[in-house]
């Protein structure tokens, strides 16, 4: 039973550590700074007015949603190539957080769209491909959470995860052509991609830091949780083998 006791020693009883507590405090502080700069100190936009403030959350969320997708694909590749369970858990944890961030992007985008375009939803290339991204991520999570053996779930999910970024790229390309071949991308010109400077740029910068810290904090905690779940599964194995052998010896 030595392996079992060493397992209990190696496994901590929470997903927090000094590192995550520091990141957590920094995330809270930067969120407060984001609220201050984004809502109070920065001026309204010349063409968009007050609505522009939601972009300080929207744009960084989109960026980190994409980073999450890349981590999922990279982690899946490392799992398939090197059999690295560590990377498999990174892929899983990032996919979950990328899903949350993609949902935030969609919701904030729709809230931003209502006053800007007059409707919650237009078949804009970016909105559409973000919606498709959410569906692709949900597909990955559906496979990863299958009611099946651990090995079956992780291996099949890794194939889906590996194809995630190539899929996103092809979907984006097709959706972009689909919209732009028929109408000019006028909405984009004064939309998310519009030029900003001064205090507004600085607010956006703070937005990146705040959202980035939240992303990192969530990712570390989610990863550690998944790791602990794995350890719990693993710890039972020695006992199961001993019980099975005893059953044989008794007969």
């Amino acid at each position: 039973m030595t392996t079992q006791s060493s397992n209990t020693l190696a496994v901590p009883d929470s997903t927090g550590s000094r590192g995550t507590r520091i990141i957590g405090v920094l995330a809270l502080l930067s969120m407060a700074a984001l609220a201050l700069f984004g809502l109070v100190l920065s001026p309204p936009d010349a063409s968009q007015g007050e609505v522009v403030r939601i972009l300080y959350v929207h744009v960084p969320s989109a960026t980190f949603a994409y980073i999450g997708c890349f981590l999922t694909t990279f982690g899946s590749a490392m799992y398939l190539w090197r059999r690295s369970r560590w990377w498999e858990l990174v892929a899983y944890a990032s996919a979950e957080i990328a899903t949350v961030f993609t949902a935030i992007v969609l919701v904030t985008g729709m809230i931003w769209g209502r006053p800007t375009w007059g409707v919650y939803w237009v078949w804009d290339a970016r909105l559409t491909s973000t919606a498709m991204l959410l569906l692709l991520l949900l597909g990955y999570l559906a496979v990863r959470r299958l009611p099946a053996d651990h090995e079956v779930r992780t291996r099949r999910a890794a194939i889906v995860g590996l194809l995630l970024v190539p899929n996103v790229m092809i979907v984006r390309q097709s959706v972009q052509w689909w919209r732009t071949l028929h109408q000019k991308p006028t909405l984009l010109a004064n939309g998310v991609g519009a030029k900003i400077e001064g205090l507004m740029l600085f607010s956006l910068f703070i937005g990146f830091i705040a959202i980035g810290l939240v992303f990192t904090w969530l990712l570390i905690h989610r990863f550690r949780l998944a790791w602990l779940e794995d350890q719990v599964d693993e710890a039972g194995l020695d006992v199961a083998i001993a019980e099975r052998r005893a059953e044989g010896a008794a007969s």
Binding site: L80, M132, L135, L136, L138, G139, A142, V143, L146, P147, A148, D149, E151, V152, R155, R156, I159, V160, L162, L163, P166, N167, I170, V171, Q173, S174, V175, W177, W178, L181
Partner: protein, 222 residues
Amino acid sequence: MLHDALLIAGKDLRLELRSRVALNQVLPFALLVLVLFAFALDPDKSALTQATPGLYWIAVLFSALLALQRSFAIEAADGNRDALRLSGLDPAGIFVGKVLAVSVQLIVLEMLLGIGVAVLYTTRIEGWGLLIVTSVIATASIAAAGTLFGVLAAGLRVRETLLPLLLLPVLAPVLIGSTRAFEAALNGSPSEGWPWVGLMSVFALLYIVAGVLGFGPLLEES
């Protein structure tokens, strides 16, 4: 690999010839979808004719889902997966063989569905070159992605619900591309259609490579 692929494709097609599931069930379903579209969209207004390419490919896509479910249902029964793993067949060959068999069935279905559209929706068919190339590439894309996700969902209790969830978002570019290319061909401006054929070729290539490499690992640990 080619020998194994032809063996598998031959077996799947022979099985279809004997059981006639695609002929007796999938094809009528596809035609039924065409009729349902006419009920949903008033056929006297121009909506139906304008939407014809999209409706055609939606009908193909849904029929393809049924054909793919069938393609893996025949391997799901009674230890076939074990037998395939023990057979010594190259997994890449199994993948290519199943893609071939599904593609052949889909091409036949598309031709009959095309006749159905021409008759029921009085579509005048033009731009044959683009139509044929689009059909071949789109079919290869659907079959390749469908076979990869088909084996991914195979052997699970939730396979019927999982396959559409995984496959349909992934096939969105193929639906957009084949529809636009058909529109371009029917409108007499095929030059607008060829970039879509290019995009779908990239898609088909990606999934054929992924299938050839990934089918082995997916066949294990069922």
